[in-house]
Symmetry: C2
Subunit: 245 residues, 2 copies
DNA sequence: AGGACAAAAAATGAATGCAAAATGACTGAC
DNA sequence: GTCAGTCATTTTGCATTCATTTTTTGTCCT
């Protein structure tokens, strides 16, 4: 057996009904979007070799635009290209994950600092609403609901920074760890959960006072704690592939 | 012929003696490195259209690997690809520059915070040496020398963070504004210069005390001030590089 | 039977070819 | 004299083709 890609019928057909209405003018752009999603969503096992041929017939295109897309994905850090041996989904070592988490922490910390400069009362009110909604989920021990709101809060902070470049970079790095992040979310223990809630309150407090420097610290520490929990969880339950470079 | 590329004989010959010994196995990798440098160093005027054909004969290759490299450069934000109308060097608006400077400030601020966790006394001593060397340049009003050391200090801090992912991201964004940054360096007025020196002393102080949170603040503010000076300078002298050909 | 070597098969990297779109120039009308 | 429309040329986007490199398969020898 050569193909390492799960052959699930027609995963990404040529003109398969794309749920979202986004459409790229060029073929390689279209391919890029679809392939990126396909990889980010974890449809290809980590470290699996990805024969161009296979992808070509999956996507119903020739190799040229596909290869262009692969180069871009490699530049984004999602896959890696081995010379003369094709592409493989990038395998993130524990160290890579730590570095990525720290980087994300830094970016969100920056977002918080910048947000304090320009955020409006309305925006803060929105975040407060989200916070209380999240608190409800916390009280009901609804982890999934909690986590979705949590994501939206952090997203709101990044948006409030009013820095598209930062937002793009944040999205890029988020994509790299999305697969892991997902399982990491559920790694949150009860104890850590309560802690996180308190941290979120502190975040709101600093935001209300527009104390950028404080918010920056709190956000960084908050995400640092999250990182620790996530990494712990991953080393406890190594999902299929053990971490080895 | 309305080639917008300065036709300086053999700008990047096929096997032109590359000063550095770095060599990529694949052609597209080689091309990518050379084209990136070529663009970053400002050999192509901003917003200039870049016909593939021209680049191909400049580099002595066919269009396929070139186009792959262009896609990657576009993903990196150095150039932009207009559908069916080729590539152009990305023109950075003032807003783009502000965003990039802030992002760089955030990354360096993060680097400082992380560095405080693991930096050794020797590394600090190295930075102190650089600092005093820089102080010498300051006293002698040697702006060029000052600036080179300044770069090395900031580089040392990023290295001390021991985060390759951060370092790569930092290098990427630095590339985007390198052209501007270069002229911005010389924008430093006397007054701002003295200020910068004091800030650098505060940086060293926080570093010695391993106070990550403080260092983070100081670095961000330091780079914020730099940003202001740079943007001011650019709006004062909007068109053309200070050093005319 | 197991391992080493060699040839076949397949995959990758790069070049070329072809259709569609865009650019530019020329012509003609007002 | 200016502007609009049409056509030729150039350029881009993608498919196909060619040349290496890698991987697999098959055979032979120990």
């Amino acid at each position: 057996m050569k193909s390492t890609i799960p052959d699930s019928g027609v995963p990404i057909g040529p003109a398969a009904g794309n749920g979202s209405d986004r459409q790229e003018a060029s073929l390689h752009g279209e391919i890029l979007l679809r392939l990126r999603d396909y990889v980010v969503e974890g449809n290809i096992p980590e470290g699996a070799r990805v024969p161009e041929r296979k992808l070509c017939e999956m996507l119903g295109i020739s190799r040229t635009p596909l290869r262009e897309a692969l180069k871009v994905l490699a530049a984004e850090g999602l896959i890696e290209l081995l010379p003369n041996r094709g592409a493989r989904v990038r395998q993130l070592s524990q160290r890579d994950l730590e570095e990525l988490f720290d980087l994300m922490a830094g970016l969100e910390s920056l977002a918080g600092r910048l947000a304090c400069e320009t955020i409006t009362d309305d925006e803060i009110a929105d975040i407060e609403r989200l916070h209380y909604e999240m608190y409800g989920h916390y009280l009901h021990r609804d982890m999934h609901g909690y986590f979705q709101i949590n994501q939206r809060i952090h997203e709101s902070i990044v948006n409030a920074a009013r820095n598209e470049t930062l937002k793009t970079a944040y999205a890029n790095f988020a994509g790299r760890i999305r697969r892991v992040r997902y399982s990491a979310n559920f790694a949150r223990k009860r104890q850590r959960w309560g802690e996180a809630m308190r941290e979120h309150e502190a975040i709101l407090d600093a935001l209300r006072r527009r104390s950028g420097s404080e918010l920056s610290d709190i956000l960084f520490q908050h995400l640092r704690n999250k990182r620790t929990a996530a990494i712990e969880h991953l080393t406890e339950a190594p999902e299929g592939a053990p971490t080895s470079p």
